[in-house]
C-alpha cells in the first residue's frame, strides 16, 4: 500500500498543513464556522474532535479485518457516535461551562466528515499505530486551525484572546466578526492565504 511507504513523521505532520482538514480539504466546515466566535470554543471543539478521532481510528483499525465491506459505513458511524456521546457526557459532567458554550455542536461531531473520512480513507486500510498517528495529526491540525480562527474573530470582535484583553480600551469591537458573516470572511481569508502560500512555495521550488 502506498501509505506504508511514507514515514510516520510525514503521516503525523500532513494534517497540519499539506492535508489540513479545514484549509486544504475543506472538511468539517459546519462546526468550524459555527463555534469559533472565541478562541476557547475553537480549542475545546478541537480537543473533542482529537478525542473522538483518535479513539475511533484506533478501534476501526483494530477491527478493520472483521468488518465486512458492505456494513463498514454503519459500523464506523456506531463507533464514532459512541465516542462522541462519551465525550459529550463527560464534558457535561466535568466541564459544564464549556459544554454549555459548545451547545449542540459536540453531538454533531458524529456527522463531522473529517472523522468518517479518516476511517474510510485511512484507518480501515492501515495498521493501528499509523492510524493513531494520522488521527492525531489530522485532529491537531483541525484544533490549531479552529483555535487560530477563533482567536482572530475574538480579537477583532471582542478585543480579547482567551478572554484576556488585548486591544486598547478605545478599540471599538467589530460586531460582525463574532456574527456568522465574520466566520465566513475570516475562514475565506485564511483559505486564500493558505492557497497563496502553497502556490508561492510551489513556484520557488
Amino acid at each position: 500500500m502506498a501509505h506504508e511507504k511514507t514515514s510516520l513523521y510525514t503521516e503525523f505532520t500532513k494534517g497540519f498543513w499539506k492535508e489540513n482538514p479545514v484549509l486544504r480539504m475543506l472538511l468539517g466546515l459546519c462546526p468550524t464556522l459555527a463555534v469559533t466566535s472565541a478562541a476557547i470554543n475553537g480549542l475545546s471543539m478541537g480537543l473533542a474532535v482529537v478525542f473522538t478521532l483518535v479513539l475511533s481510528s484506533m478501534i476501526i483499525s483494530l477491527v478493520r479485518n472483521l468488518i465486512p465491506r458492505e456494513v463498514r459505513i454503519p459500523s464506523f458511524i456506531i463507533v464514532i457516535a459512541t465516542f462522541v456521546t462519551v465525550a459529550d457526557l463527560s464534558m457535561a459532567a466535568f466541564v459544564p461551562d464549556i459544554s454549555k458554550a459548545l451547545g449542540p455542536y459536540v453531538p454533531l461531531i458524529v456527522v463531522n466528515c473529517i472523522i468518517l473520512g479518516r476511517q474510510e480513507a485511512f484507518a480501515s486500510k492501515n495498521s493501528v499505530g499509523r492510524s493513531v498517528i494520522d488521527a492525531l495529526g489530522m485532529s491537531l491540525g483541525f484544533t490549531i486551525t479552529l483555535t487560530f480562527l477563533g482567536a482572530i474573530r475574538e480579537l477583532l470582535g471582542s478585543g480579547t484572546i482567551f478572554s484576556v484583553q488585548i486591544m486598547p480600551n478605545a478599540f471599538e469591537p467589530w460586531m460582525v466578526m463574532i456574527l456568522p458573516p465574520g466566520a465566513f470572511l475570516t475562514l475565506g481569508l485564511m483559505i486564500g492565504t493558505a492557497n497563496w502560500l502553497t502556490a508561492r512555495k510551489g513556484k520557488s521550488a
Binding site: 466566535s37 472483521l66 468488518i67 465486512p68 458492505e70 456494513v71 454503519p74 459500523s75 456506531i78 463507533v79 457516535a81 459512541t82 456521546t85 462519551v86 457526557l89 463527560s90 457535561a92 459532567a93 466535568f94 459544564p96 451547545g103 470582535g157 471582542s158 469591537p173 460586531m175 463574532i178 456574527l179
Partner: protein, 196 residues
C-alpha cells in the same frame, strides 16, 4: 457463515458493545450532570430572590413555583420560569417576585441563543462596561400589575416601563411579552392557592 448472517452478526455485535459502553458512561456521569443542574437552579433561585438560602418546589395546575426562604425560614418570595420565543431562539427566564406577585424582585436569563452582540445584550451588554446586566436590572422592583411596556430611545418615566435595547428591539419586546404572559398566568394560579 454466509455473507448476510455475517453482516447481521457484526453489526449487532458492534451495537451491543456500543450500548454497553454508553450505559456505563451514562451511569458514571448522570449524577454529576443532575447535581450540576440542581446547583445551577439553586444559585439562580437565590439570585432572583435576594436573601434566599433555601427553596421549596410547589406544583400547582402543572405550573412549577419555587418558594424562597431566608436563613430564618421566612419567605423571601416566589420564583418561576418564563419561557417563550425571542428573536431567533427560545428564551428561558427565571422570574423572582414578591408573594403577592405584584413586584418583580429580580430576573435571570437561564438560556438564550440570540444574535451575538445584539440580542445577547438582554443578558450581558459588553459595551456597557460598568453595568453589563443593565437590561435585566431594569425589571427589578418593577410594578407589573398593569403589565410591562417598553420604550425606545427615551428614558422610561412611567410605572411599568423599561427601555428597549438599541439594535435588539425584537429581543427586548420578546422579553417583555414573555414576562407579561407568564406573570399573569402564574399569578392567577398562585393567588388562588392563597385564598384556599
Amino acid at each position: 457463515m454466509n455473507t448476510s448472517t455475517r453482516l447481521i452478526v457484526v453489526l449487532t455485535g458492534i451495537a451491543v458493545i456500543s450500548g454497553a459502553i454508553l450505559s456505563f458512561f451514562n451511569i458514571l456521569t448522570a449524577e454529576r450532570i443532575e447535581n450540576y443542574k440542581l446547583e445551577q437552579l439553586r444559585q439562580s433561585v437565590a439570585m432572583v430572590m435576594p436573601g434566599t438560602q433555601d427553596y421549596e418546589t410547589l406544583t400547582l395546575s402543572g405550573k412549577v413555583f419555587y418558594l424562597g426562604k431566608d436563613a430564618q425560614g421566612s419567605p423571601t418570595g416566589v420564583a418561576f420560569k418564563a419561557v417563550g420565543n425571542g428573536f431567533q431562539s427560545k428564551l428561558e427566564i427565571l422570574v423572582g417576585m414578591d408573594l403577592e406577585m405584584k413586584k418583580i424582585l429580580a430576573l435571570k436569563v437561564l438560556s438564550q441563543m440570540e444574535t451575538p452582540g445584539l440580542g445577547t445584550k438582554i443578558e450581558t451588554d459588553p459595551t456597557n462596561k460598568e453595568h453589563p446586566g443593565w437590561f435585566m436590572a431594569q425589571f427589578e422592583n418593577l410594578n407589573t400589575l398593569n403589565g410591562i411596556r417598553y420604550v425606545k430611545n427615551e428614558v422610561p418615566d412611567q410605572e411599568g416601563e423599561i427601555q428597549a435595547i438599541t439594535g435588539a428591539t425584537i429581543s427586548s419586546k420578546s422579553v417583555v411579552e414573555i414576562l407579561n404572559a407568564a406573570i399573569s398566568g402564574y399569578r392567577e394560579v398562585f393567588l388562588k392557592r392563597e385564598v384556599q
